[in-house]
């Protein structure tokens, strides 16, 4: 999944103010660049499966997204959400490499700009495979803690939502152990600090944070956006083993348990956006891309009334604008790439798939 890249192409790089394209309605890919400016650097998702030297931000010295139809549709829905009703769940699905993760990033950026509180899980697959240091949870004997993943998530959550941490006050007292506790009325930041300093309690801190946010979003003090990439990991299978070397089910992981509770629609005052992904998933066939196939019966029933949004390959106009962006940035250095023949060949080789096109243009 191409999480690390918040950059995508688009020519005619014009600065766009956030409200602008919504008035025009979803007229499809207008090929306008949304420059992520300096106010929002930390809220953009940085984790991902790409090696850090491939970071396009470093290569192009800028971060750009292409405005495409699925993202525009989602943004239109989000704008028109009625916060008194229950949270609507949107699921981005599609073939491999079509841009689900980047559409999710676009939505997160949009919501962050409007001061929503964003709970972003960059890749849920990382929580169900190759985890070291699993501990038995102190809170509930059946579940397992993952201190490493939980603490890294808390760190990114802290950098993303600094200002909310001091505003939101917790509504219950939590006892960490005999000596430490956090009283009712303290800011949420203290819970996060506790989780970061005492790594053993990190998973419980995550659970507390999610619970508090869910209960307080109904009050209307802030809008909550839950964004999970690789959501099919929550209902799939894991490759983690218990002490007796038998495989675990995802319910036995405390992080997965709390995230599942978050994604249920029994709260209001925000929205839930999920992106499915086959690339990091375990025990799913390679050609599976539909929600039914990836989520399985259990996941599909858990998410049942949701809005599916298909993310497909580039349309001819999008492809053209993509190639134009690469040419403007001089990323496409091959002299034949400027010709019509070269462009037709790129279209043929990549089949307008954004991921494939990017891999092709990397060495051309």
């Amino acid at each position: 999944t191409m999480l690390n890249r918040v950059t995508r192409l688009v020519p005619r790089a014009r600065q766009l103010d956030p409200g602008h394209f919504l008035h025009g309605g979803p007229q499809g890919p207008q090929g306008l660049a949304v420059h992520l400016d300096d106010q929002v650097p930390d809220e953009t998702p940085r984790a991902g499966s790409r090696p850090s030297e491939d970071d396009p931000v470093k290569t192009f010295n800028e971060a750009c997204l292409m405005v495409r139809r699925p993202a525009l549709e989602l943004l239109r829905y989000l704008d028109g959400t009625n916060f008194a009703h229950q949270a609507v769940r949107y699921v981005l699905y599609g073939e491999k490499g079509t841009g689900k993760t980047l559409s999710l990033c676009h939505v997160i950026h949009f919501c962050a700009k409007r001061d929503w509180l964003v709970v972003h899980v960059p890749d849920a697959h990382q929580w169900v495979k190759s985890c070291r240091g699993l501990l038995r949870s102190a809170y509930s004997r059946q579940r397992f803690d993952q201190p490493v993943e939980a603490s890294s998530w808390l760190k990114s959550f802290k950098t993303a939502n600094e200002r909310f941490l001091s505003q939101i006050k917790i509504q219950e007292t939590y006892m960490w152990n005999k000596r430490e506790s956090t009283e009712k009325g303290r800011p949420l930041g203290e819970v996060v600090e506790q989780g970061l300093t005492r790594v053993k309690n990190a998973t419980d801190a995550v659970g507390i944070v999610l619970k508090e946010l869910k209960s307080q979003s109904c009050s209307g003090a802030f809008r909550l956006l839950v964004a999970v990439d690789g959501a099919n990991a929550l209902w799939g299978r894991t490759t983690l083993k218990r002490e007796d070397k038998s495989l675990m089910a995802p319910e036995e992981l405390a992080l997965v348990h709390s995230l599942r509770k978050m994604v249920r629609n029994d709260w209001h005052g925000g929205a839930v956006v999920l992106a499915l992904s086959q690339t990091g998933s375990l025990f799913t066939p390679r050609m599976a891309c539909l929600p039914q196939e990836l989520l399985g019966k259990e996941g599909f029933d858990a998410l049942d009334p949701f809005v599916p949004i298909l993310v497909s390959n580039y349309s001819p106009k999008e492809f053209e604008s993509c190639v134009q962006y690469y040419l403007e940035n001089s990323w496409l250095q091959h002299e034949k790439a400027h010709t019509e023949e070269g462009k037709k060949e790129l279209l043929f080789l990549s089949d307008a798939n954004p991921g494939q096109l990017e891999r092709l243009c990397a060495y051309l």
């Binding site: 470093k58 290569t59 250095q333 002299e335 060495y363 051309l364």
Partner: protein, 278 residues
């Protein structure tokens, strides 16, 4: 390179330029010069015997030399034409000889094009040759992917330098990985080479002018040897290769040093130059 394809057989000892150009000779082993001449012999789908071969071409049977390097195609097979532009020319623009040739191709036998040869606009014969040399055990997929990763690595390094540089320097920084590759290999080609020649029971290293393809081969061979053997075991090939290519592009680095060493040896042995008879 017509001699290669139309020849019946080729000689494999250092021949004079006259013999290179098209007389039919046999390919034999037993000399020191690794001749690159292809020796198509035998007929496709029909068994061939040495007698038949002797009848078709006048083969000088030289003592101590055996035949190598033949192909399954007989001499009447023509090479395939993969250039799309050739077929797209409208009928009016063709000259008489081109029309004649096109007519001929309809009836002549044509060899099968190799799998790696495409009619893509992005294809490059030098890069294909390099990929073939990098390939081990027939794993072309791996070799090709290593090459593309190398080109990508070269491009990214150059882009980083570009963004870090000032405006005047930006004009001098070359970002096209293909020009860097070609220029680097050109910089690594030796001008003069050494050949062991037997005189009076001893082999002497005689300085000799190298043909163009031998030079290209040596440049690529040195580059690959350097990357495979002289680097740390845990570094990946794209990383090593991109570093070496960039150094060679700037005329620095171990491969350029090897070229200079070869030149110095040739200069040192220049007294033996008269041992060369071609």
């Amino acid at each position: 390179m017509q001699c290669r394809t139309d020849l019946g057989l080729c000689v494999a000892f250092p021949p004079s330029p006259v013999t290179r150009s098209g007389t039919q000779k046999a390919a034999f082993v037993g000399s020191s010069w690794p001749a690159k001449m292809a020796a198509p012999a035998g007929k496709l789908a029909r068994g061939w015997s040495v007698l038949a071969l002797n009848l078709r071409t006048a083969v000088p049977r030289l003592p101590g030399l055996t035949q190598v390097r033949w192909s399954r195609y007989s001499p009447e097979y023509r090479d395939p034409q993969t250039d799309k532009e050739y077929y797209r020319k409208p009928l009016a623009e063709l000259t008489e000889e081109e029309k004649c040739e096109q007519e001929l191709r309809k009836t002549q036998l044509i060899k099968a094009a190799p799998a790696a040869k495409t009619s893509s606009v992005f294809e490059d014969p030098v890069i294909s040759k390099f990929i073939n040399m990098m390939m081990k055990g027939g794993n072309k997929v791996l070799a090709r992917s290593l090459m593309t990763q190398t080109l990508e690595a070269v491009k990214r390094k150059q882009f980083e330098k570009y963004h870090a540089a000032s405006a005047e320097e930006q004009a001098t920084i070359e970002r096209n990985p293909y020009t860097i590759f070609h220029q680097a290999l050109k910089n690594c080609e030796p001008v003069i080479g050494l050949v062991p020649i037997l005189r009076g029971g001893h082999f002497y290293q005689v300085p000799v002018p190298l043909p163009a393809r031998r030079r290209r081969f040596l440049a690529m061979k040195w580059m690959l040897t350097e990357c495979r053997e002289k680097k740390h075991r845990r570094t990946l090939m794209p990383e090593k290769l991109s570093h070496e290519l960039l150094e060679a592009f700037h005329n620095q680095g171990p491969v350029i040093k090897k070229k200079h060493d070869m030149h110095k040896m040739a200069e040192a042995n220049r007294a033996l130059a008269h041992y060369r008879w071609w």
